[in-house]
Symmetry: C2
Subunit: 441 residues, 2 copies
Amino acid sequence: MESAVQSRYFEFLRIPSVSSDQGKLKECCAAAMWLKSQVEEMGFTARLETRDFAPPILLAELKGENPAAVLVYGHYDVQPADPLEAWETPPFEPTVKDGRVYCRGAQDDKGQLFALLTGIGDYLDRQKVKGAPTPTIKLCIEGQEESGSPALIKCAPELRKELAADILLVCDTSAAADLRPAIVAGLRGVGHFTVRLKGPNRDLHSGEYGGIAPNPAQAMAKLLASLHDDEGNIAVAGFMDGIEAPTADELEAAEKSAVTVEALERDIGTKAATREIARKNGFEPTIEINGVHSGYGGPGSKTIIPAEAIAKISMRLVPGQSPRRAFECVKAHLEAHLPKGMVLDIPEQAEGAGGFRLPLASPVFRLAEEVLDGMDARGAVFQWDGASIPVVSVLKEVSGAAPLIVGWGQAEDRIHSPNESYGFNQFGKAREWARRILENV
Amino acid sequence: MESAVQSRYFEFLRIPSVSSDQGKLKECCAAAMWLKSQVEEMGFTARLETRDFAPPILLAELKGENPAAVLVYGHYDVQPADPLEAWETPPFEPTVKDGRVYCRGAQDDKGQLFALLTGIGDYLDRQKVKGAPTPTIKLCIEGQEESGSPALIKCAPELRKELAADILLVCDTSAAADLRPAIVAGLRGVGHFTVRLKGPNRDLHSGEYGGIAPNPAQAMAKLLASLHDDEGNIAVAGFMDGIEAPTADELEAAEKSAVTVEALERDIGTKAATREIARKNGFEPTIEINGVHSGYGGPGSKTIIPAEAIAKISMRLVPGQSPRRAFECVKAHLEAHLPKGMVLDIPEQAEGAGGFRLPLASPVFRLAEEVLDGMDARGAVFQWDGASIPVVSVLKEVSGAAPLIVGWGQAEDRIHSPNESYGFNQFGKAREWARRILENV
């Protein structure tokens, strides 16, 4: 990588633009403004769309002579860095080791997005030298993807004309193992919320009150345990209704690109929860406990009955599930199973967006396969990703564009975990992909 | 209260002697040394027994002319003050409001202990004026009661001769409602431990891995939920074996002194877990979750599968249960119910001590009833306390003394909770009780 590109990439990474933390709004604004100046230097006309107190959305356009229009989506916000003590290098100081850059956001999505922008720059430079025409290129880069994209989802319908395009280019996913190119033919949706149980009006002495007062930590355990049966299947009435099962072609293609059980177990260091990796991760929903907290957690003991308990819960959704209905089903379940003596409330909720799948036969997939065959003799695989980019289904609808979701992540990148990283080889692939796909539009 | 007494009481309260926090060992030593100088001023010969890195045990003796010996037990350590934000006044700054002192330890046990010592001083002064003989008075005051008294329990057998006495006086419990005197005829035992589940080798992205990787927060919920059945009964095999049921006399006396369901519900601000208050709190064991922590707990969301989960668990035990066997039963249960993909370990464990009950017909109870009748025309009630003073059963055995457990706590004292307090009237009762019982030994 040229040193000028690397130094701009590192500048971008150093901005701790964590969207889930309201206290980091300033840093999110700084990241948006930094990006705006970058794309203006590339010749784009850019503006920041700000809604309420949300991190701004960067909207930019470079008019081309071609009738085609390509919309590029990405996000500059990142996951929180905690647990901080698990990082081997400072989370917001890019550190190079063995051909990889270690930093929160090194991959997700600052790294992949910046590689894409660099590739677009490469393409524009080449066309300029050749005096060749270009399609119109539009950018929509937001700062709330890790928080469910509420502002962009809300204002996207008003930007219908501004976002109209033929292809929606997204680089926020992973390649297959060994960097074999992967086209994402589907994504799960996501919604999340916080559950709080209040029991006694204060922490109680567990001797004076033990056996006669209800315990919110215990009640929360019962309540969370009730969400799944003993085999790990979701036990929430109505939640699974209407789910669109994969076609035989889809399942076959997904199994080809899925990680093996053995590789997954090596990666996570423990037993897999299932042997049906492709089906479970690509085509089935989850209800996942992201955190649970109640009472004492320090050294030694504190013999109390805690006054309350909270749980952070997220759902991954598949086509056929409405995010609103999925949440309502879980809420109804929690209310129906609420242990005695507890008051339930849901102090935070993000409805999120549904999942989607694209037909395997679409022309944009044929084009992408051709370009990717040129980059890698092994050819591309199709994936149905377990992760979510909630806003993509919304952008797909308002822009009228066919989503082309090709990313260059690898499991070793450890996105969302401490010590996130991105390889220079991966950055190079993402950059090359952006140039090549624009050359073929 | 005389201002000299109050100022010494407040001095004692200001020392943040939290025994569960190794970082507060210095403060525990300061409290022990402060007490040593107090009792030396009263004429006692005192020494600090130190074991390993435990808070020191104050052992003191004042030889008397009477052949009888009274051993006084108390503790100078207190519960941690957190959650700090719930305190209306600083937790270690005694604040007087409406005839009550607000401070961590204002009651448990610094307040009750200091009242007892003040009463002993009153008694000694009177006897001196009268030129009357006194029994030998021994003190054993430790700094680890809130952590299960491991050091004192360990060294007590070696102190058999030093601790030998006829009566063991303990003031670390509550009176009945409206300060009616209560004699504790039984205490539950206690043991506690920390359970940790390790799943994946790091926090995982809940989209990329959701549905295919095991979730420790979810696994912990299942595991903790399995400890009780849906009616709240303990579901651990072997745990309830051999429990000694109360006699009809005991149950009848316990029901007389027990709080009503209505009063309990007003006190805790929610539904009681049972209507059988006396039986459940006095004669049945519990397995209580004091805390559970896993994954994210901050604002917004962090869509992860956490790498691990911990739970802090305590058990209250009744006669017939061995603390070691009770723990082994829970451990075996946890191992037998361990969800797939999890590694279980128990990084901390305190075996604690068993519960005990004294026969209602014992002569020391007759003596106490007589003294208490003189203090309160309503007479004394007998209680079987749900709380534990693990070391009392050990001291009972090594000293050969009959325990006389009479305390002056009230529910409104909120011990172990934020805004702990102790009324001047309660302090006065405890002080008077100490003087009167010594006058009658």
